[in-house]
């Protein structure tokens, strides 16, 4: 018994000793980015060893984007956060754990990758769905994420609204348009994966509105050719912002490492890995190189249409906002 305990202690001491010699970095990120960061971390570790000669260990913590933001705000010692909506980083900036000017710390609004919303339809597109208008037609079932519980859902809603506005609709007409779309929704997913499951595993609905990056994982998960991707004429640009968690790096002394970790996302190698995971790279050269995956599409930003995501949040998604009205006023 005691000898066993001793070996255990010795092993533990060895293990912690081994850890102490190399720095660790914790990346707080959203669910769907898990596979991307697994690939990216391996590349970064090799790169860091080559350039500085230091070993580094990277841990990942994943959950819904805002769940991660909440736990970081509440004290989770993540060195960096890599999110899928800027509201989540904004929240951390307001909580004082991320620099106020985080968006200016890295190129492209601190977003090394972006994505957009597009449609997944069943193989051969039996209902002939081409654009947002088709989603509001009677008899079409649309699977989307609940904007109250997922960033994916917020972008879907804003994309449809923005589309209507781009076509010259007034706010009232846009509201009517979006209302019609949500009338066609039989199941509101809680998050992106939930909606994908409903569409593919449960065979509900004719079209799934989701992130472009989800298309690759769908093909990987369910086999090629079960679904077709349809690019609408206009869609929204969804940024994937990153930031250093100042509170943690100050405590752990990992500021340099955290910055290097995020900088490397903008390197050609980092951008290539992102492209492989169907996230639109910031680098125009690599975007062009992968034009077959990232079809050119007219994109509008949240800023030009809604001011900012937090602005949109207030008007549309908070309690009593425009989205609630769709369901309570009939």
């Amino acid at each position: 018994m005691t000898s066993k305990l001793k070996t255990l202690l010795a092993a533990l001491a060895l293990a912690t000793g081994g850890l102490a010699s190399s720095q660790t970095l914790l990346n707080g990120s959203y669910d769907v980015a898990r596979e991307f960061y697994k690939d990216y971390n391996a590349a970064f570790i090799a790169h860091y060893k080559k350039t500085t000669g230091k070993d580094v260990k990277i841990d990942q913590s994943h959950a819904g984007s805002s769940a991660v933001a909440r736990s970081v705000a509440d004290g989770l010692d993540a060195d960096v956060v890599t999110m899928n909506t800027s509201t989540d980083v904004e929240f951390l900036a307001n909580a004082g754990v991320v620099a106020k000017d985080w968006a200016k710390r890295f190129p492209g609004n601190a977003s090394p990758t972006t994505s957009t919303m597009l449609f997944l339809v069943r193989n051969g597109n039996p209902k002939g769905i081409k654009d947002w208008d088709d989603l509001t037609k009677p008899g079409i079932q649309v699977i989307v994420v609940n904007p109250k519980t997922g960033g994916n859902g917020r972008y879907t809603y804003l994309a449809a609204w923005g589309y209507a506005k781009k076509k010259g609709a007034t706010d009232a007409q846009a509201a009517e348009f979006v209302g019609k779309l949500y009338k066609n929704v039989p199941v509101l997913g809680k998050g992106g994966r939930d909606a994908t499951t409903a569409f593919l595993q449960r065979n509900i609905g004719d079209v799934l509105v989701t992130f472009e990056s989800e298309v690759v994982s769908v093909n990987k998960e369910f086999g090629e050719g079960k679904v077709d991707a349809v690019y609408p004429s206009i869609s929204i640009l969804a940024e994937n912002p990153v930031a250093v968690v100042e509170r943690t790096v100050a405590k752990k002394g990992t500021a340099e490492l955290a910055k290097a970790y995020l900088d490397y996302l903008y390197s050609d190698e980092g951008q290539e890995i992102a492209a492989k995971h169907a996230m639109r790279p910031y680098s125009q050269a690599i975007l062009k190189k992968n034009a077959a995956v990232f079809k050119p599409i007219q994109l509008f930003t949240v800023q030009e249409m809604f001011g900012s995501l937090s602005e949109a949040q207030k008007v549309h998604f908070n309690d009593g906002g425009q989205f609630d009205k769709l369901y309570t006023v009939r």
Binding site: F91, V187, L188, Q201, D319
Partner: protein, 297 residues
């Protein structure tokens, strides 16, 4: 036996109202003050302090904000669904849980041990797994759903699906509270009743039922309480449509996703108060029941 009926099952949910039921001058455990102190400390650390924190978070809202947060139409609809579905599920469990407990106690059959172990499965299973399996079963292309939906019976992604998930998670509570009481029931009483000319129905209603009623109520209350707070299993099967199939815990999660901590705790407080009031009523019923029947406990 005493402990089985009143102590063990009800302790988890609400304190039994029987402090004055018996006066024993000689206590088994010495040092009443010490044990009471320990009890209060433990209860404070584990239950009272977290719940107080919940209330404090809510107090950051003004009264108007609080009322708005907890009475908006979507939230009201979710209360109706959560409490309504929980009540239905608990009632179903009351009937079938008793039946299950009865069969397990009174009959011998091959594989009884396995059936007995299966009862605990909803306790042990991660609720998300339960939700996913139920959805897979009942969805339009699932094993059962593919036969039911052509008949016009749609269960998954409707409030009916919510009830089914809640029945599943609440089932063990009734069985496990009633089972020991039934096991301890004295056969002689039934035999005496038979000897005195009672028929089977009379034996059940006059002899057996009063004996197990308190345990049954406790099981019901626990199944009900569990259903109200249930999230994981329901979320996959509910469809989560505002005003139709959105449970209150989802509203709370939704508010958290908007970083509306105070709003989320406000709804949580309302749930807490309603649940606590319901449990108190059930407890009072139980006490009244025991006094009225003078059950042997």
């Amino acid at each position: 036996m005493n402990a089985l009926i009143s102590g063990a099952p009800s302790a988890g949910v609400a304190p039994p109202l029987r402090a004055n039921a018996k006066r024993t001058p000689q206590r088994v455990l010495p040092g009443f003050r010490l044990t009471l102190g320990y009890t209060v400390l433990y209860l404070s650390l584990i239950v009272l302090i977290p719940i107080t924190a919940l209330f404090f978070k809510t107090f950051t809202l003004t009264w108007e904000q609080f009322v708005f947060a907890v009475t908006s139409p979507r939230v009201m609809a979710s209360y109706r669904l959560t409490f309504g579905a929980s009540l239905i599920a608990a009632l179903v469990n009351l009937v079938f849980g008793l039946l299950l407990a009865w069969v397990l106690v009174r009959y011998k059959f091959p594989g009884k041990k396995i059936v007995d172990a299966l009862v605990d499965l909803p306790f042990a299973l991660p609720t998300a797994v339960a939700g996913i399996s139920l959805t897979a079963l009942l969805a339009g292309n699932g094993w059962l759903g593919q036969y039911l939906e052509p008949m016009g019976i749609k269960l998954a992604f409707t409030p009916a699906g919510v009830v089914i998930a809640l029945i599943f998670v609440g089932m063990p509570f009734v069985v496990r509270t009633v089972q020991p009481v039934l096991e301890d029931a004295e056969k002689e009483l039934e035999e005496a009743a038979t000897a005195l000319g009672a028929n089977r129905l009379q034996i059940f209603t006059k002899v057996i039922f009063p004996h197990i009623a308190p345990a049954l109520l406790t099981g019901f209350a626990m199944a009900f309480a569990r259903a109200i707070g249930e999230y994981g299993s329901v979320i996959f099967i509910a469809g989560n449509m505002p005003m139709i199939s959105e449970i209150t815990p989802l509203i709370i999660i939704g508010k958290l996703e908007q970083y509306d901590y105070a709003g989320a705790t406000a709804v949580a407080v309302v749930m807490l108060v309603i649940s606590f009031a319901l449990l108190l009523v059930i407890n009072a019923l139980q006490a009244w029941q025991r006094k009225n029947t003078g059950a042997s406990s």
